[in-house]
């Protein structure tokens, strides 16, 4: 069963006489339980794509299907983690309330909400922070809260839009391991957008390389690294270096606008 099917997606912005085609023709699928990373040159319409998938923007053409259902507004089976954690958490609510608010909208019982909130906060390592305000926490901790909010929402698919672009390198490594850990523990489906090639290769089971805008899929690449990954060993493994070099070259050629020859799902040869 495909968790997410994107077919022929196109998005054109029109305004004040100008017509900008941000996304031209995107087709790919994400299987249930998969962790897929999307990378592309900066300004390639990644955020547009993600917002179309999350039902925040209406595509001009094509469609997105979540578990077989066509997406035509924010679907309840999808949770979003934004890059701007500081602006995505509500500063007037305590951490616990921030995580709980979407659950109230779902109409869950109080007991069930409490259970989900404390479970989610515990799994991101913030069990003690429920009573704090987001702005009392560091940037990395705030993004953990945003992840906890997404987890508590119990989505079929978790969309993450460059979630770690604004945190420092140390924190970023911790958060990457957190995401991989959560994914392996809970078996959720994650679509992770990033502009960082290393991050994409380190995290993903599969990497989808996007072209420059107007966006198409440049290449899909299976990451054949072992499932047990850690910052110390994985990043210095020769295979990691090969994969990242390959993705790097693909992005460079995407920037130049040369179409890729290999539109396959096979890893590059060793």
């Amino acid at each position: 069963m495909h968790a997410l099917v994107v077919s022929g997606l196109q998005k054109v912005y029109e305004g004040s006489g100008r017509r900008v085609e941000a996304v031209r023709d995107l087709t790919f699928t994400v299987e249930a339980g998969e962790l897929v990373c999307l990378v592309g040159p900066s300004g390639c319409g990644k955020t547009t794509l993600l917002k179309c998938m999350g039902g925040l923007l209406t595509p001009t053409g094509g469609e997105v299907r979540l578990a077989g259902e066509k997406v035509s507004g924010p679907p309840p089976g999808m949770a979003f983690v934004f890059q701007e954690y500081g602006r995505s958490l509500f500063p007037w609510m305590r951490v616990g309330e921030n995580v709980e608010l979407p659950l109230k909208q779902k109409g869950l019982s109080k007991a069930r909400r409490r259970e989900l909130v404390s479970d989610a906060l515990e799994s991101v390592g913030l069990a003690d922070a429920a009573g704090a305000y987001p702005w009392q926490l560091s940037g990395g901790m705030q993004q953990r809260v945003a992840i906890a909010r997404a987890l508590a929402y119990e989505p079929q698919v978790l969309l993450m839009d460059e979630p770690f672009a604004a945190v420092d390198a140390q924190t970023r490594a911790d958060l990457e391991d957190l995401v991989r850990g959560l994914w392996r523990e809970r078996g959720i489906t994650i679509l992770f957008v990033t502009h960082d090639i290393d991050e994409a290769v380190y995290l993903g089971q599969r990497v989808i390389v996007l072209s420059a805008s107007p966006t198409v899929v440049q290449e899909q690449l299976k990451v054949d690294l072992p499932d047990e990954r850690d910052q110390l060993h994985t990043r210095v493994a020769p295979r990691f270096a090969e994969l990242r070099t390959h993705v790097y070259e693909q992005i460079q050629s995407a920037k130049r606008g040369t179409p890729s020859l290999a539109k396959t799902d096979t890893p590059p040869p060793h």
């Binding site: 917002k51 925040l56 979003f80 602006r87 995505s88 007037w92 609510m93 702005w135």
Partner: protein, 259 residues
Amino acid sequence: MRRVLLRVFFVLALPVLLVAAWWLASDGSTNVFWPPLRTILQTFPDVWTADRLKDDVLPSLLRLTAGYACAAVVGVAIGTIIGSYRRVRAFCEPVLEFLRAVPPPVLVPVIMLFAGIGDTMKIAVIASGCVWPILLNTVEGVRAVDPVMAETAKSYGISGVARLKDVVLRSASPQIFAGLRQALSIGIILMVISEMFAASNGIGFTVVQFQRSFAIPDMWTGILVLGLLGFLLSMVFQVVERRVLGWYHGLRASTRRSP
């Protein structure tokens, strides 16, 4: 301990000094308009008896509360509607800018035409003067809801009443409170003026009566009461604001520390 004492000293020193200066400077005063502070303070308990508080201060405060509350409800409600729709905002803006610019006291004679000189007139005057700063600040606050927050709410299915209550109004609350604060001082001004125009009770009425009958020390006590009232209302407002906007002050302090 020393720091506490120092703080207390700083809080009290100048006020004590000023009162002492007033006391000494006015002590031997024979100028009828500047009676000695001693006389004013002696007159105070005779003038502001429990009956007077009930008959004059209470009605004034009730009218202020009624007018202010009407203005707050109407201002926030209409401001939220106007702030939520770009077209509506463009349509209303010039008219609102004009209405806001009308100095509120000139509303007194206008509203007297419609509402006579009773309580309705005074409440209407206070409400129609207070509503503009609240309304326009609400428009600004609602308009400026952070787009990322709006998208977050949308993607998590937060809509309808919950969106309004937990996201839009909370996010606009610092602006709304700025409007409420401006409205409070306008409200007090209008409370006093509407009573000076036409009334049979109220603080403003009483003070003007004292002045017209040349009861100068009594008039001075009235000025003191008005001053105290303004101070107390502003304290109450501050307490409420600190409670409601605690998060906002914390947020601002934390962004100032780490820009």
